[in-house]
Amino acid sequence: MSRVRPFGEGAFLVGVDGPEAAQGLRRALVAEPIDGVIGLVPGRYSLLVEFDALIADATALEAELASRSPMPDAASRLRRIPVVYDGPDLADVAALVGLSEAELIEAHATGEHRVLFVGFAPGFAYIGGLPEGWRIPRLATPRTRTAAGSVAVADGMTGIYPADLPGGWRVIGRTPVTLFDPRRTPPVHLEAGDQVRFRPISPEDWERWTGPGAEW
């Protein structure tokens, strides 16, 4: 059973067990929509359900939401993300987790990661799967600009900056992959539930990727 609380006069916040249940409940409400629902936003332990307060019966909607169950993900994709591990915070992160830089890269690139949810900015995926026990706090003073393609870690997760954005995550590398393109459908490269493997590449590989014919 889900816990349903009002969030303003036009939304409910449905409490769930975790990110996968939040995504699963969204899938269920996309597959079998409820009249009057106009927005679905998965969070870490919740799904925000917005409705048209002029037409929807809030009481009936609340009961209906409480009765819905998450729908499992049919097929989880594997996405390989090439990374040049030469980020400005690589040495600091290695020191924080007590490894050499080479060991850190090895651990990150052999680990199995999974997209928990996408937020913060279009295409910014919160990717779980860093080894247990890695304590990596965010930067005390966030950067005013973190470059597009930066592969960064914080709070037990990896994130990739889809555009030049301010950010407090610690940058360990960069990828040439385009994470967000509003002219594509879907517009994002990584979606919740995707399995992710990071593959070390050289700066020369990165240059080749962005050569003639590449997207940016």
């Binding site: 969030f7 303003g8 006069e9 916040l13 799904l47 937020g119 913060f120 879907p186 994002v188 979606e191």
Partner: protein, 319 residues
């Protein structure tokens, strides 16, 4: 002429104003699971009204003006309407908000400052803009939508499709009084919100309006990331509340003691830095009836036979 044989109006940006962007009323609701903000007009109610005054559909592409508006030259006759208090003129004659107005070929529309931080300029037929992800809204942070994902600059040229939509004048009234709020998911930290007046801080943009005033002590400094509805009042660790507007990030991780009701969020978007505001708590039932009343006010239109023409009065010089 466009392919459907309609006359195309070209609008040249002579001066850009402080921050003028192409928006629509409803933005993008369907891609938030991909991190894409809703966007669209910060004051959607005023944008819808502006569109209705020139006979457009509610969601037609129009201009959102910030603090001071642009100067525009029209190559062809057009019908325009302004919603929001900013001083404006057409060919030197006053152009008050709230009613459709005609602009002649070669006409110069100038919009200055006023009491409102945001105003909307609709052009009959709507601006011709390619939608991305279901909306023409400009997303300034990620740089897409509208005109190349950016604010207008002098020298830009916009196109509108001249329409035969019925022009109108607004005869409704705007709410004033305190900004009404309902409880959010973390109401325990809400106590001081309604007790004292607040002031709009300098950090006020399309994502959110930060308030200056008494610091709020919350029960939690961070909460698990959750989807943020329009009007959510987030309280970060520094204790200065932020009212979330159209370009808010899709999720947030700070406590939300209260939410500004849908009927009043447009008023928040119109506040200028330094303006004072007060909050009043209401029930969700009151919030819903306020929304219905706002909808009724939006429909309080007096249809005009023709847009008011500066020289010819009510003469029907435009089809």
């Amino acid at each position: 002429m466009d392919r459907a044989g309609r006359r195309v109006v070209t609008i040249e940006v002579v001066e850009r104003g402080i921050l003028t962007t192409i928006q629509d009323a409803f933005g993008r609701r369907s891609w938030r699971h991909a991190g894409v903000p809703v966007g669209g007009a910060a004051d959607a109610w005023s944008a819808r009204l502006a569109n209705r005054l020139v006979g457009n559909n509610d969601n037609a592409a129009l201009l959102e003006l910030t603090l001071a508006g642009p100067t525009l030259r029209f190559t062809e006759p057009a019908v325009v309407a302004l919603v929001g208090e900013m001083t404006a003129s057409i060919d030197g004659l006053p152009f008050p908000p709230g009613a459709a107005r005609a602009v002649r070929a070669g006409g110069l529309l100038r919009i200055g400052e006023g009491r409102d931080a945001r105003a909307y300029l609709a052009i009959g037929g709507g601006l011709h803009v390619e939608p991305l992800l279901g909306s023409v809204a400009t997303d300034l942070r990620s740089g897409f939508g509208g005109l190349d994902g950016r604010a207008l600059r002098a020298g830009d040229r916009l196109a509108a499709r001249a329409s035969a939509g019925a022009p109108a004048r607004w005869i409704g009234v705007r709410d004033d009084g305190p900004i009404r709020i309902v409880d959010g998911p973390h109401p325990s930290s809400a106590v001081p919100l309604t007790e004292r007046p607040w002031r709009v801080g300098e950090e006020a943009d399309r994502a959110g309006v930060r308030l200056d005033g008494p610091r709020i002590r919350g029960t939690d400094s961070e909460v698990p990331s959750m989807g943020l509805p329009l009007g959510a009042i987030q309280v970060p660790p520094d204790g200065r509340p932020i009212i979330m507007l159209a370009d808010r990030p899709v999720t947030g991780g700070y406590p939300v003691p209260a939410v500004v009701i849908g009927a009043d969020i447009g008023r928040v978007a119109r506040l200028r830095p330094g303006d004072e505001l007060r909050f009043a708590s209401v029930s969700t039932e009151t919030a819903r009836s306020a929304l219905r009343r706002a909808e009724d006010e939006l429909a309080a239109l007096e249809m005009l036979d023709a847009p008011v023409d500066d020289e010819l009065g009510w003469a029907g010089s435009h089809r």
